[in-house]
Symmetry: C2
Subunit: 355 residues, 2 copies
């Protein structure tokens, strides 16, 4: 996982301070959310270096001076604002919370999808099921119910998903189409977002979308304009009696295998390998915490793994590359090419089946 985590970087005093910051982390998080959503960060941003008094913040944001003061004082401790002579100003952290799309997207995913359910993390680990999902419904996994999430959670879930996948798709497409596929089989096609990009990228290419029936119903609507080039193959890939497609030049799995346990990953790869035509390529787009340039990217993936644990399915994660490649081999595939640094931190694996 990089050199970031090999050594303890703190003195005893620094660590005791950091432990309190961790103990009060929910306060920092919710204060940041309130400061953003109530318009306080925007007011400070507009005021610039001269800053604002709490009374001015209160007036501009339509909240009490008391509310402005308690939020801003927690904002000081969370390094979102500075204060000097009673005037509060935005820090760089505050700037990113307000303006940076990735930060906002991560924040909203935490706040709207995960915050409440994460309180059941211990129970989720003990019981091997996403116990936090009960916040949304009495469901064994989240996947067939994405469309039923409350509006904010639904929007933040897809914004998070799309923020990362859109950036990755743009850079992954050339690798796929360099293989001049006549048909792409998209396993875990979800709402058809990647399929749509392929259809627009190449006016000849045909696609087969494979996913749960609920997902494909959404995809069918999204791709209606290209219906003559798209086939739908509704299936639960975990069902060993289900049939997979038997054609296609390129098979594609984008952030699909991270939704399964390591034993399931091997099983799915074996069944895919058995179905794929000879000569076809399997392209896997994944996020590996141990192939990141920035520590915060590894953090982001390690955190999102706990979304799988507590909310999605209870048994999957963003695997380390070092543990994923042995699963690929056990599933019957060899790595032909690996490209890291796709989009904001994806890796593309081009795989060939052993025959």
């Amino acid at each position: 996982m990089g050199d970031w985590y090999a050594h303890d970087p703190m003195t005893a005093l620094e660590a005791k301070e950091a432990a309190q910051h961790l103990a009060f982390a929910p306060f920092a998080f919710q204060a940041a959310r309130s400061l953003r959503d109530l318009g306080v960060l925007a007011a400070l941003d507009a005021a610039g270096a001269s800053g604002l008094h709490t009374d001015e913040v209160a007036r501009q944001c339509g909240i009490s001076a008391y509310g402005a003061a308690v939020l801003l004082d927690m904002g000081l401790s969370a390094r979102i604002a500075t204060e000097s002579g009673g005037r509060y100003a935005l820090t760089r952290v505050g700037h990113y919370l307000l303006h940076d799309a990735m930060t906002r997207t991560n924040f909203d995913f935490s706040a709207d999808v995960c915050y409440r359910g994460l309180a059941n993390l211990t129970q989720s680990v003990r019981e091997g099921r996403p116990a936090g999902l009960a916040e949304f419904g009495d469901w064994p996994t989240i996947y067939p119910h994405l469309a039923e999430l409350p509006e904010r959670a639904h929007r933040s879930w897809f914004a998070f998903d799309h923020h990362y996948s859109d950036a990755a798709y743009a850079q992954a497409l050339p690798y796929l189409f360099a293989q001049r596929p006549g048909r792409i089989v998209d396993i875990g096609a979800n709402t058809g977002r990647f399929a749509l990009r392929c259809l627009r990228h190449d006016p000849q290419v045909r696609l087969t979308l494979v996913d749960l029936p609920q997902q494909l119903a959404v995809a069918r609507a999204q791709l209606a304009a290209h219906a003559e080039r798209v086939d739908f193959h509704p299936v639960d890939v975990l069902d060993p009696t289900s049939a997979l497609p038997m054609d296609g030049d390129v098979w594609w799995m984008s952030q699909f295998l991270d939704c399964f346990s390591s034993a399931q990953v091997v099983d799915i790869l074996r069944r895919v390998g058995a179905a794929m035509p000879t000569g076809a390529t399997l392209c896997v787009l994944e996020c590996f915490p141990d192939r990141q340039r920035f520590e915060s990217a590894a953090l982001s993936l390690n955190a999102t793994s706990l979304y799988f644990t507590a909310l999605a399915n209870g048994n999957s994660r963003f695997y380390r590359c070092s543990e994923f490649l042995p699963l690929v081999r056990a599933g019957g595939f060899a790595v032909q090419e690996q490209v890291d640094g796709i989009g904001l931190g994806h890796s593309l694996l081009v795989l060939r089946h052993h025959r």
Copy 2:
């Protein structure tokens, strides 16, 4: 608020990384909680510098290897553990989470009392009421209902309260008894914890306990062994028609005025000043974020103020000393003596009424 918060300490890159840590703070917090409560921190602690593999952690803690791995990997990003060659070891932050009483007390207060309710912080500020209290009951404020909190929340609330007040009481008592009081009037006596210390400290002293009837019912039971030296004065001090005691040499308010808005603080002080006998002293024990030695102590108070906002009453806080002293003057009192650094960060104000 000290020099800690006057300047932005981060470069742009550091700030962007820190913003992601804030965005994923609930994951770090809940992972830390699970690592502690599932025994993982204790297992790493026992293993020492050689560390443990995830399989060993799983076996020792009775959880899945998957669960151990996702929690430990988030633990890396939260600086709770290090990893080298597949072996995880405890950092100093992890050590404090496991062993330090203050850190555990703060953490449990966050987790058991505040975590869920804080999700309603924005609404609380907008509406000027503790909207997060709905997690526990349909109550306008928390104070009359402390005894009704769920068992974990109840225990963590009182452990948090007692951890700080016990340390402060020990150091504050000599200042009080230097005045050789015959009777102490304890305003906001809560469950009688301070009163009991006074009764034990001085076998002659008599006390009058002033608080809501619900609190005094608990105090009466706690102080049964000293009943002949204790009077109870059940009253809502916010009720302008209520009568206060008229005797006593020392009047005592420990972390009482932080439970009220600044306007209410002035009003209470005026009514107390009118009731106190000539020559009596008012001793106020408070926590001021701007009179702390350590940044994490200011953080702790700024965070706990949001407990008042979202869960307790919606309008109070730990005031800065610089804003509290003007309230004292407006309430009719002058500061005779101020002692900072009482216990873990309290300040004792010895006040005289202007006549």
